[in-house]
């Protein structure tokens, strides 16, 4: 569903991402770990088409993003650290708006309400203005937008940052449900523990390079932490 082929991006003299090769199939959750500036967000922006690659290509469901942006985006949903919604509209109104823009006008309000309930947003909260929402509630609306859009791939950039443990748990449970529904998920995060809980594969990035991409089931939490810290503590950018 998501594929990166030698995907690279340079800002001036600095390579933010170099030769990324990655494939995420439907139903897989790929997590990307790494320090700030490792290239996680750049990777997501290249898949979303907000950045153009300096070299290589990003593919979404067989469509090359740089060449066929609208077709690629039709399959994508995106949940950033701060989900961007209209504060004076309610959660349901935001959902109605974004789904109508996505051409899913056939979804009636009852159906959209169901999407919100599926992501755990209470019925009474759906009609409250988003300016009164907690971060977790906004994340849920972001996921509901992805569901209502019928996106085949979900890109998440630090979605767990700032969530309390209960909200983070609920959010991870939702992600796993989405993966079971054959959605390919790419999540950038600093949270090793949650990454280990939800991911099919965990990639460790440093200085724009993907150093390792490990199957999560092969790792314990402590092993993952040790591998990660070894890479981070290594003075060489390539290790």
């Amino acid at each position: 569903m998501l594929k990166a082929e030698n995907l690279s991006r340079r800002f001036g003299e600095r390579w933010a991402l170099r030769d990324l090769n990655l494939e995420i199939a439907a139903g897989e959750i790929q997590c990307l770990l790494g320090a700030n500036g490792a290239g996680k967000t750049t990777t997501i922006n290249l898949f979303l088409g907000f950045l153009e690659p300096t070299a290589g290509a990003a593919w979404v469901n067989g469509r090359q993003v740089a060449r066929d942006l609208n077709a690629a985006r039709a399959h994508l949903a995106y949940v950033p650290e701060q989900v961007s919604l209209y504060p004076t509209l309610s959660g349901l109104e935001n959902l109605v708006y974004f789904t109508r823009l996505a051409g899913k006008a056939a979804h009636d309000r009852a159906r959209l309400q169901e999407f919100l309930e599926r992501v755990g947003l209470a019925r009474e909260a759906a009609d409250v203005r988003v300016e009164h929402y907690s971060k977790g509630m906004r994340q849920k609306v972001g996921l509901a937008i992805a569901l209502a859009k019928d996106a085949r791939a979900l890109l998440l950039d630090e979605p767990l940052s700032g969530l309390d443990p209960k909200a983070a748990n609920e959010f991870c449970a939702l992600l796993m449900k989405l993966a079971e529904a054959d959605i390919a998920i790419l999540m950038a995060t600093h949270d090793l523990f949650r990454a280990r809980e939800v991911a099919s594969r965990i990639g460790i990035m440093k200085s724009g390079r993907l150093l390792e991409n490990i199957a999560a089931r092969d790792l314990s939490h402590s092993q993952l932490e040790r591998i990660y810290l070894d890479h981070m503590n290594c003075p060489d950018a390539a290790c």
Binding site: Y97, I145, K149
Partner: protein
């Protein structure tokens, strides 16, 4: 998709406290302006009707009287207020309402409403058009500042792009929503003003007032779209919503408050209006220059024209000499014809100066659509200088008719009596009353103000594509 974008924008406007506050302010000021204009209009119209009736009665009750005394006594021409003065008083408060129709002299209008206005009312222009002209852009700019800048700040521009909304659809939706608010507000206000004008005016035609109302709607709609284009351009290019708002507030202050006044002052500096003594000196000089030499062919030609008009057929020069006429009256009528031509030339030059001043202001419309709208609004409301000029011209025709009627009566019926001739008490009824009707039609106003509408349309043609170019360069990343 466009419908969804427009509907969402409207929902956001409805829930924005600042937008509601500005709408409330506009509503309150317009209510005050409309009520006070309505009361003034009704009072003025009644005054005109009462004064006209009184003037007529006085004229008819003169009894037996020397014609020339009656010509100097004269009559008054009262200008009825334009129906849509309730919407836009234009220049009318600064122009006289009554013209004294007397012998030898084409007087300017006297009794300016502004002279009688309470001092405090001079501090603010609370005319309905004034409120709309200055506050509509403020409303558009406050709403429009965040159109793109806030989308970028919140990050929703990314969600829009990902949802599949092209920047073209987003731009069109925002433009339609933004301009629609102002168009809706101005149309409602103009409709209410037109209804008040029709209900309160006894002297103007309903269809003409309706046509003028429609013309005002077109002008204000063009203004709204031009302002919306400016707002979207600034919002698309500004780094933040606050920066966009500050830029737009500066544009608002300069274009609606400063530039119209600066343009008027520059026009006056470039083409100064002569003051009273200078104007009358010009009239005296023109009258002296227009006077042909005694016994000249030109003078004989005018004499023949005057006598031919009086007896109702063409006559020769020899016949003039043989007719039994009051020669004093003949001389007075010749003097009237010459004087009227001299006055007309000096007044034409005065209006040419006003026109040059207007051209300067129109040139300044390139910097501010507000100036073009002010011209268009007062022109279509029938309250600008050109509508007043139409009245002054009709009053002058009436003056010439009255004086000619008096002179001809004296000329034909008072042979050999000189100044001693007395017009009979019944004679005054034969002098036609001044009926200023219909006042200049919408066509007259359109001809005069059409360049201003074209300037407003040019603003749209410029502002919207430039705003689109700015919006197209949005970066979601």
């Amino acid at each position: 998709m466009l419908g969804a974008i427009v509907a969402k924008e409207f929902t956001e406007y409805r829930r924005d406290g600042l937008v509601l506050a500005i709408l409330g302010l506009i509503g309150a000021l317009i209510l005050v302006g409309l009520l006070s204009a309505w009361a003034t209009h009704v009072e003025q119209e009644q005054q005109v009707l009462r004064s006209q009736a009184h003037d007529q009665e006085t004229f008819l009750r003169q009894g037996n009287k020397p014609s020339h005394s009656a010509a100097h006594f004269g009559r008054m021409a009262y200008k009825p207020p334009a129906a849509l003065a309730v919407f836009d008083a234009g220049a009318s408060p600064y122009l006289g309402q009554v013209i004294w129709l007397e012998a030898h002299r084409q007087d300017p209008a006297m009794f300016r409403p502004a002279e009688d206005a309470p001092e405090l009312s001079r501090l603010a222009d609370l005319s309905v058009a004034g409120v709309l002209t200055s506050l509509l852009p403020l409303l558009i700019f406050v709403i429009g500042a965040g159109a793109f800048a806030a989308e970028r700040e919140r990050g929703t521009i990314r969600q829009l792009m990902l949802a599949g909304a092209g920047i073209g659809a987003v731009f069109r939706g925002k433009l339609i929503a933004l301009a629609s608010v102002a168009v809706l507000v101005s149309t409602l206000v103009i409709a209410a003003s037109t209804a008040v004008a029709i209900a309160s005016s006894e002297t103007t035609s309903t269809s003409d007032t309706l046509a003028r109302g429609a013309g005002l709607c077109v002008g204000f709609a063009a203004y709204a779209f031009a302002c919306a284009g400016i707002a979207l351009f600034v919002s698309a290019r500004a780094l933040t919503r606050t920066a966009a708002l500050l830029t737009l507030l500066t544009i608002w202050g300069v274009s609606t408050l400063a530039l119209p006044r600066i343009a008027a002052s520059v026009g006056e500096l470039m083409y100064p209006t002569p003051d009273g003594p200078a104007f009358w000196a010009q009239v005296a000089e023109a009258t002296r220059a227009a006077r042909p030499k005694r016994g000249s062919a030109e003078l004989r030609g005018i004499e023949r024209l005057v006598v031919s008009r009086a007896i109702g057929r063409e006559i020769s020069g020899q016949e003039v000499a043989s007719l039994q006429l009051n020669r004093v009256a003949l001389g007075q009528e010749i003097s009237e014809v010459l004087g009227a031509n001299a006055h007309a030339a000096v007044y034409a030059e005065l209006y040419a100066i006003y026109d040059r001043q207007r051209r300067v202001r129109r040139a300044a419309s390139i910097l501010s659509p507000t100036i073009a709208l002010m011209h268009w609004s007062s022109g279509i409301a029938g309250t600008d200088l050109w509508a007043h000029g139409h009245f002054a011209l009709e009053a002058e025709r009436q003056r010439q008719l009255i004086i000619r009627t008096l002179n001809e009566d004296m000329m034909l019926n008072g042979a050999h009596q000189g100044y001693e001739y007395l017009a009979s008490a019944d004679f005054w009824r034969t002098v036609p009353d001044f009926e200023y009707g219909p006042p200049p039609s919408i066509r007259f106003s359109m001809r005069s103000a059409l360049p201003d509408l074209l300037l407003l349309l040019a603003w749209i043609v410029l502002a919207i594509p430039v705003a689109w170019l700015g919006a197209r360069r949005q970066r979601a990343a």
